[in-house]
């Protein structure tokens, strides 16, 4: 580990701490006794300050210090926490985030624009500090004399005697005791440092990256014990640390007489030089004996701390992607091996190919599982969005999160954030009514927004629901006619009307707000979700609320496929969507059949894709299910299950309907993967309620 790694760790940890700070701030409002949250937020800010100090990132230290001071007052009940302070602290958290990101990019955070940006925040924080100090002066008359800054708490700087015995790994872990001393100098005045170099061995025995030093430090500071201890936070595990409050007189340090004679003995007096080898050879071993129990102790403590973390490791996302790519290649290779084995008519070979195939399937599943993440983290990010937007709109809105343990592919999670944000904003802005309207309608004053996620036949469904007024059918239709999106005499079902809000350039907001209503967004949302092979549906009840459900495939890389043959072409259906296969008996011209007494509409793939080739005498219907709707696909032959590595179609085929991707078969041929949702939409009115496909036009084939 070198310093760069340590800086990376600092940045990753800071991001986590900032997220912690944010969630603490957000849950503060709801908590009856927010002291736990306040402490958590304070600790997060404190740790960020402490570690940026170690790295000498002064910009972050200076800014975070002000934040920390305010939080400290909040902790002591000198400043009451309220809505506006929470918003201010959230903004401060964001600013620290910006500083951290800048540090991640450039290694420091000196940026004129950012400094200017911090100014209003610092001023606002300053007002709280001033108010807090006044308040403190009222409640504690004895401290009335000291009316500003931290000095109020401890009028006289305290003398601290710090003795630090560095463990071997300190330097290797990227920590330099020197920078800690520099940091201490910022807390107060470092009046004396004695470095004990007794432990340093001869050059030949020296591990240049191990630390052999011990320090006695005398610090004059009005910061509390916590602040002083905080300076050592990063090396504490590897060190023996003793911090004592000294008297007013500088106490003699035990290291001083030790340290200086050792150098002097070796270098000053000629007779000392003669004795030096003996004393030097003994001292490292003594030091080692003394250090051993301490190291064992700190090692045990470290293990204890880490046992909680040992269940998970961080992996570079690129490595995972590479693994998935390789597994994809493996699947294709295994398919062609199996094909070759079948051709060779060698039973033994076929058997081992089958075993191999089974194993590869398991490898694929666990590889894909590695990329699965819970959606909870994404959902929790919306607490902040909801908080900010609600403030901006002057509405009171509570967020309810359900199904946060639902897992989905990391790449999907990353791409779903923006569309979801837009849906959430839209629901808050257009869905949930202002408080007075809500009260007049007999609803609770607080609006409620629910985020929910669950698995449903090979896809994940994410629902954004609000308890607002629902979509206004007539207004949407009027607007669509006005915009020329539909003819004025069109007869549309409710669901078709709701679907219009995803049309480009459509916006019904009576006034343009900062958040939504600019007519961009919902169509972009739909486009983004379609790009992920997903779909959007709307369910709205006037006066009760609306639910927008986004349906996405679980993974974008590899699926279990079901191969069918039409004419000379092979197509692949996602196996999860296939319900059953039935023989097609009726030779009629109707596009529906009788499935155990129920009407089953079906699509003739041959006609749909205008395919040539020999017609099968015994065609089959594959019954597929999508979004609660069942329909059939008429095919010539069934080929069975096969693992399918999805290769995206090139942009040239972006407009092709009914196919979502392609794959390479074991034989080297290319097969198209059918897009069930799109096929269903192509079939027109048979499409399920409110389901929107890649193209809004109700095409027929």
């Amino acid at each position: 580990m070198n310093l760069d790694d340590a800086l990376q760790t600092f940045i990753v940890e800071s991001r986590e701490l900032l997220a912690l700070m944010e969630s603490g701030l957000l849950s503060m409002r709801e908590s009856a006794d927010p002291s736990d949250e306040i402490n958590a937020v304070f600790r997060a800010a404190h740790t960020i300050k402490g570690s940026s100090g170690l790295f000498g990132i002064d910009g972050i230290v200076a800014f975070t210090h002000v934040v920390e001071s305010v939080l400290d007052r909040v902790r002591d009940n000198e400043i009451g926490i309220d809505e506006s302070l929470i918003s201010l602290l959230l903004a401060c958290g964001d600013h620290i985030g910006l500083l951290v990101e800048l540090t991640a990019e450039t290694g420091n955070c000196e940026d004129e624009a950012l400094i200017a940006q911090a100014q209003p925040l610092v001023e606002a924080l300053g007002r709280y500090l001033a108010a807090g100090a006044q308040c403190a002066a009222h409640t504690r008359p004895d401290s009335g004399l000291h009316d500003g800054g931290e000095a109020a708490a401890t009028p006289h700087p305290q003398r601290w005697l710090i003795s630090l015995q560095c463990g071997e790994p300190v330097l290797r872990n990227g920590m330099d005791p020197l920078s800690i001393i520099h940091y201490l100098a910022r807390l107060g005045e470092v009046t004396r440092v004695a470095t004990n170099v007794e432990g340093v061995p001869l050059l030949d025995a020296l591990d240049p990256e191990a630390c052999y030093l011990a320090f006695e430090i005398e610090l004059l500071s009005d910061a509390g014990r916590q602040a002083v201890e905080g300076a050592f936070e990063f090396i504490r595990e590897d060190c023996t640390l003793r911090i004592e409050e000294g008297g007013d007189e500088p106490a003699a340090s035990p290291a001083q007489p030790d340290a200086e004679p050792s150098i002097d003995a070796a270098l000053l007096a000629p007779e000392g030089a003669a004795q030096a080898p003996a004393s030097l050879s003994s001292s490292p071993s003594e030091a080692a004996v003394a250090a051993a129990p301490a190291a064992a102790r700190s090692g045990a403590a470290a293990r204890e701390n880490k046992s909680a973390d040992s269940h998970s490791i961080r992996i570079d996302a690129d490595k995972l992607d590479h693994l998935i790519d390789l597994v994809g290649e493996l699947i294709t290779a295994s398919a062609s091996t199996e094909l070759a084995a079948r051709k060779a008519q060698n039973t033994e070979l076929r058997e081992s190919a089958a075993t191999l195939n089974n194993l590869i399937q398991k490898v694929r599943d666990s590889a894909l599982q590695l990329r699965m993440v819970k959606i909870g983290a994404t959902f929790n990010r919306f607490r902040r969005v909801v908080h900010d937007v609600a403030q901006e709109l002057g509405k009171r809105i509570d967020l309810v999160v359900e199904g946060e343990d639902t897992e989905l592919d990391k790449t999907v999670v990353e791409k779903i954030g923006d569309p979801l944000t837009h849906l959430v904003r839209n629901s808050m802005d257009h869905g949930i009514e202002p408080a007075d309207v809500r009260l007049a309608r007999g609803k609770p004053e607080h609006g409620r927004l629910t985020l929910n996620a669950f698995h449903d036949s090979g896809s994940i469904v994410i629902e954004v629901s609000d308890d607002g007024g629902g979509l206004d059918r007539d207004r949407i239709l009027a607007k669509a006619v006005e915009r020329g999106l539909v003819p004025h005499d069109a007869t549309l079902t409710d669901d078709e009307i709701y679907a219009l809000i995803f049309e480009p350039g459509f916006s019904t907001a009576e006034r343009v707000t900062n958040l939504s209503g600019r007519g961009v967004g919902m169509d972009v949302v739909k486009r983004n979700i379609t790009a992920l092979r997903g779909s959007i549906g709307i369910d709205s009840r006037p006066g009760i609320g609306a639910t927008i459900s986004v349906r996405l495939p679980l993974t974008l890389a590899i699926i279990d496929g079901f191969q069918v043959c039409v004419g000379n072409s092979i197509f692949i259906l996602p196996l999860d969507a296939v319900e059953e296969c039935v023989e097609f008996a009726s030779g009629g011209v109707h596009d529906y059949t009788d499935l155990r007494g129920q009407v089953l509409p079906f699509i003739r793939l041959r006609e749909c894709f205008e395919l040539e080739g020999p017609v099968s005498a015994r065609p089959n219907i594959v019954v597929v299910k999508h979004a609660g709707q069942r329909f059939g696909l008429l095919v010539d032959r069934l080929l069975g299950e096969a693992q399918t590595v999805i290769k995206p179609l090139s942009k040239m085929f972006g407009k092709a309907r009914g196919v979502s991707g392609s794959t390479i078969l074991g034989s080297g041929e290319v097969a198209l993967i059918l897009d069930i949702a799109d096929l269903m939409a192509m079939a027109g009115p048979a499409g399920p309620a409110g389901q929107i496909s890649a193209s809004p036009a109700l095409a027929t084939c």
Binding site: V193, V197, L202, L203, D204, E209, Y212
Partner: protein
């Protein structure tokens, strides 16, 4: 006895270069005639660097050689002063020579 060797150190005396510098110092001391390290071009020093200076001087003393560090920049001087080990620089030269002189008289 040969004249002391002068070795120019241009790398920062920090953990990044500690391994490299250790080799350089060991090699210089191997020559057996005492070394004068010219550290005037050393921009900075950290705790790993301080350890190197101490170890080099201990090793030199062990071999009864001289080992000096001369021409330290203000930054390096300030750091060593802060850590309370300025004698690594200030007292080194005359003493190293004393030691060398002593060495010569003995042999």
């Amino acid at each position: 006895m040969n004249a002391p060797l002068t070795v120019q150190i241009e790398l920062p005396l920090t953990i990044y270069h500690a391994a490299e510098l250790k080799e350089l110092m060991s090699d210089a001391l191997e020559r057996g005639a005492g070394v004068r390290f010219d550290v005037s071009a050393v921009p900075e020093i950290d705790c790993a660097g301080v350890q190197l200076l101490v170890a080099a001087r201990r090793s030199a003393a062990d071999r009864r050689q001289a080992c000096d560090f001369v021409g330290a920049s203000e930054t390096v001087q300030a750091t060593l002063a802060l850590l309370g080990v300025p004698q690594l620089l200030t007292q080194a030269q005359p003493l190293g020579e004393t030691l060398a002189a002593l060495e010569e008289t003995v042999s």
